[in-house]
């Protein structure tokens, strides 16, 4: 029983770690600021989420797991707020978006 839980935790931790690495790779491979925020959100969601889930299997039904759930809940609110603050500040200060079809909805409208 314990062995199975440990395996589940290990798989989730490794998967979460891989997504964190993928986010880091994306941060380097993408070419401009706005694209890079998308890569970072892979780390924020899949990376952090899978790792926390893996740790919950170790905590079982306990205060530890409750606290892990709370960490997830705080991330749920703080991470998009931070991402939004970053891109809105960049957009508001005129950092141009590289768009495929600037014609359709127009950057100027923002």
């Amino acid at each position: 029983m314990n062995g199975a839980l440990d395996i589940v935790t290990a798989v989730l931790l490794i998967a979460g770690g891989l997504f964190c690495v993928v986010g880091g790779i994306g941060l380097h491979r993408f070419s401009e600021f706005y694209q890079r925020t998308h890569a970072a959100s892979v780390t924020d969601t899949a990376g952090a989420g899978l790792m926390l889930l893996g740790l919950m299997f170790q905590g079982g039904l306990s205060m530890v797991t409750l606290k892990l759930v709370l960490v997830l809940a705080f991330l749920f609110f703080s991470s998009p707020a931070i991402a939004h603050a970053l891109v809105k500040a960049a957009h508001g200060h005129g950092l141009a978006l590289e768009l495929d079809d600037p014609g359709r909805d127009g950057d100027a409208a923002g």
């Binding site: 993408f30 706005y34 694209q35 969601t45 998009p80 707020a81 939004h84 891109v87 495929d100």
Partner: protein, 163 residues
């Protein structure tokens, strides 16, 4: 009068099961001040946002699990897609900007929708104005996830509006 009852009850509770040592009193006092401060902040923010407390009704909490499942599935799918974009041998992005209607009634609901989009890798909300979101998407597939309106409906359902 009510304050008097409150003070009396507090005094009785404190003397029977409250803190005893100076150290415990200090921790208790800090805790009480923190609770009061956060409550004050919450009331002020709620007033500034023009309400949104609909979300804190029990009926909303009952709808939360279904929303969280839909949310987790969509975020997972978007993560896989963005991972594919990141790891593909040749980076091929077709970034685009779209205006997306946010049909939620409350500002809390609209912010929740905007955050939902931002948390989904591949799409990010730049602005929220006049019931409309300005969304930046990495490519056509990421854009389609938002434009089909399913996330909008997920949040609407949680809000308690019509499907």
């Amino acid at each position: 009068m009510r304050l008097g009852v409150l003070a009396l009850l507090a005094a009785v509770w404190l003397s029977l099961s409250g803190p005893y040592t100076v150290h415990e009193w200090l921790i208790f006092a800090f805790g009480a001040v923190s609770v009061a401060f956060v409550w004050r902040l919450y009331v002020a923010l709620d007033r500034a946002a023009g309400g949104g407390s609909e979300f804190f009704r029990p009926s909303s909490w009952l709808r939360l699990p279904r929303f969280l499942v839909a949310f987790a599935l969509k975020v997972a799918a978007a993560n896989l897609h963005t991972t594919k974009l990141i790891l593909s041998p040749k980076i091929e992005l077709h970034p685009r900007l779209r205006r997306v209607p946010a049909s939620q009634k409350t500002s809390f609901g609209q912010v929740l929708y905007a955050n939902f989009i931002t948390l989904t890798p591949g799409t990010i909300t730049l602005d929220l104005r006049d019931d409309e979101l300005l969304v930046y998407a990495l490519d056509a597939e990421s854009e389609a996830d938002v434009m089909d309106g399913s996330m909008d409906r997920d949040v609407l359902r949680l809000e308690g509006g019509s499907d």
